[in-house]
Point group: D2
Chain length 250, copies 4
């Protein structure tokens, strides 16, 4: 499949896991823009994609910051002029932060981090990308899509995950609202509940999955599911899918 | 039933609807503290309760403000010294604000209002009241309780309710986390999904329920359900109930 | 409170737990009819209620059998002529049967037992009691109610509970359908998710709750919640509540 | 892609919609067996697949009948000896039957039809195919899969759909139980909530979707999603997806 010269994809939140794999997968069809707060997070994968004869650009921006995000889209316009947006992935996961604590030990800063990354971030990102996706309804090779990375905490609160779950569940329902509003206008908004740890070298934060590598989710498998969501026919959109290792108890 | 001289109840968020009715209902058993941002919101019901021979005090405080809330609890210690907390109701509903708008017309201030009132507010309130409720596990006439007022938007996003739903769903899962953490320690955290408009004089914001008064929920009926939740035996706690008019489609 | 001389309540499925306690609780307000497959199941509680100066009658009938159920209501007409039905409780729990087995060891008879007790039974019972409850909308001291006893398996399948969960979840959604159809006509249909073992002498079937009695639900507490559901104002019906011991993980 | 000479797929419940399209899609990779109660339902699609140089066989059997289903699998052994089962689709939808009636007009036969087709049928089919799928864990080109066709009624009861919803929701939780039991053994059990009418010539039963063809789901799009589910990597199984037309309100 040739890489499109009319449409691009953007991935907000790139690290060694889902964001990287999604960028690689979508780069088979589109030039991809990678957003991360630090060039360290994207530079290797940008190089890897470009070396493979496909196209990627990295932009340093905090996607949860309204002004920074606007500036990023101005940069995109200059870097890949004339291209329209076909797919946007919101993959910012502020989960690894040390906010897995009993409720009475949490500070309001812990809460802020979760809400900013999960809800404000998707809000800002949505306000930037949805007008662009709407412009692509005619012409895009697949229905223009916004795909959001959720987690078990998106549907379930628990003892040590209170502020993370508050942020993830608010994010999930925001994505659902966007699906209900923009689906009928031709934009596909989907939410993926990633129920398990990602198989990346430093994945130490999710104790349930310690032990055998069998218990981790391949980020490439997540990327494949995101690509599938993007290519669904408009007569059969999925709003939500769950993804977990075969061995995971749920 | 005599009003307790050892335990009190607090209602955060008092207006003409649920907060007022809950304060009246709980005042049959406990002195009640009413919190609202403006004395206008509580002064009539405080007077009404005190005139009836029971006890109420009103405190002006923004419960979503950490410092203001701490100051409020200092005031409570002075006003009703020695009393312990048996029940706390979080009823702050920033819903009536004009944020029922298409997503692309919303500002990040609209989002802030929802998150502040729904999530930050419950977070702060929870951090203040849960240590007090834990101290009451021994001795309280009923299991010490934190009851949170939710809404349809707590479980469902929709076109015009995106930021409200983001806040309410985050709040709901925060309450669920608190239930899972503090239930085993004897504190009952319950969440009520109020699925309909409240029957108060100025209830004009919920168009589905325009028309006959039959379609509105009596705030006294909500208060009765909150009282029931508070008095549930510790062997049979409800974490969540829904409440809607018999005539409501759902 | 005097026992009504115009309205009665019926409990289908009486054993040592929820059914017995519900019958006792509702007998404070209404004459109660107890249905069970064997007189052994109800005779002691019928005697206990009648000895207390209230009124109970026991009828031997398999409520999952259409003809037997019709005959039972004929008997009721003769035994308590002129009384109208205010509350009906469907509490048949075929759960304790030895169908907690790996899927490939189950027989289709195991499935039949679950579907018959959970779905056919509620279907038949609903067809018998709903016309009677509709006749009571005018005049009943509280909104006429049908209350259904559910379980954790009503919302969740699992390895050893497949056929039980199939039956309970079908029952739950049937109850939800009835709530949506008959709520607007004034009949309150509610479903209670009992998430834990009941504290009865022979409660050995629920291994999670072995050990301390603290982990069991008091059937009296369940009965109190059923009474509360029955007495809810028609402007604030609950369709579903969960009930679990404070100490239960969920 | 060459058609496998080692593994086959089976589709139970073939009509003009999902079953036919799924058989066509899976025939690109596997010989397919089509089960239906009448040869009329499968003969055209069997001919179409075979004419295209791929392989299909049709078997007349009522998959909800235990003995008939066993006989069908004996026939399969003879017709395609040595082949192992890679994918099984349970697509029997007894929904179009005239059971969309107010509850009090339903007969227990209406209920039986729903439970038989939805729950007994999946139970029998599961008991037949799961042992075969377990044998294919080693060697199958994709994780051996059982995919179940659900509907809106699988998660929601309503006025006119009470018996259908009872059957579909029981079926859904049965599928979930199977996923929890057999996922860790390497078999992928997935449930698809088809939320809308299927675009087939005679699709008249779903009034919400009358009018423009835009409001119908393409059965080919459903088949594509089923194929995607079958090919998911074992580190990232989806247990449930929803599928609806972009224009559908939900």
């Amino acid at each position: 499949m040739a890489v499109s010269d009319k449409f691009y994809a953007i991935v907000a939140g790139v690290g060694p896991g889902t964001g990287r794999s999604a960028a690689i997968r979508f780069s088979e069809a589109y030039p991809v823009v990678l957003l991360a707060r630090s060039p360290e997070s994207y530079k290797d994968v940008v190089a890897e994609i470009n070396k493979g004869g496909r196209k990627a650009i990295g932009i340093t921006a905090d996607a949860t910051d309204e002004a920074a995000l606007k500036a990023a889209f101005e940069t995109i316009k200059k870097e890949i002029p004339g291209l329209k947006l076909a797919a946007a992935i919101y993959n910012i996961r502020p989960n690894s932060r040390p906010s897995r604590k009993p409720f009475l030990e949490l500070t309001s800063e812990d809460l802020d981090v979760s809400l900013k990354g999960n809800i404000h971030g998707l809000f800002n990102f949505g306000q930037s990308v949805i007008p662009l996706l709407l412009e692509s309804v005619e012409g895009s090779p697949h229905p223009p899509s916004l795909i959001v990375t959720g987690a078990t905490a998106s549907i379930r609160g628990s003892k040590l995950w209170s502020v993370i779950a508050a942020g993830k569940s608010g994010q999930r329902i925001l994505a659902q609202s966007l699906a209900r509003e923009f689906g009928p206008q031709g934009v596909h908004v989907a939410h993926a509940i990633i129920d398990g740890g990602i198989d990346v070298p430093d994945a130490t934060y999710y104790p349930r999955n310690e032990g055998t590598p069998e218990t981790k989710i391949s980020p490439y498998a997540i990327a494949e599911s995101y690509w599938f969501l993007h290519t669904q026919h408009k007569s059969a959109f999925s709003q939500e899918i769950d993804l977990r290792p075969f061995i995971e108890k749920f």
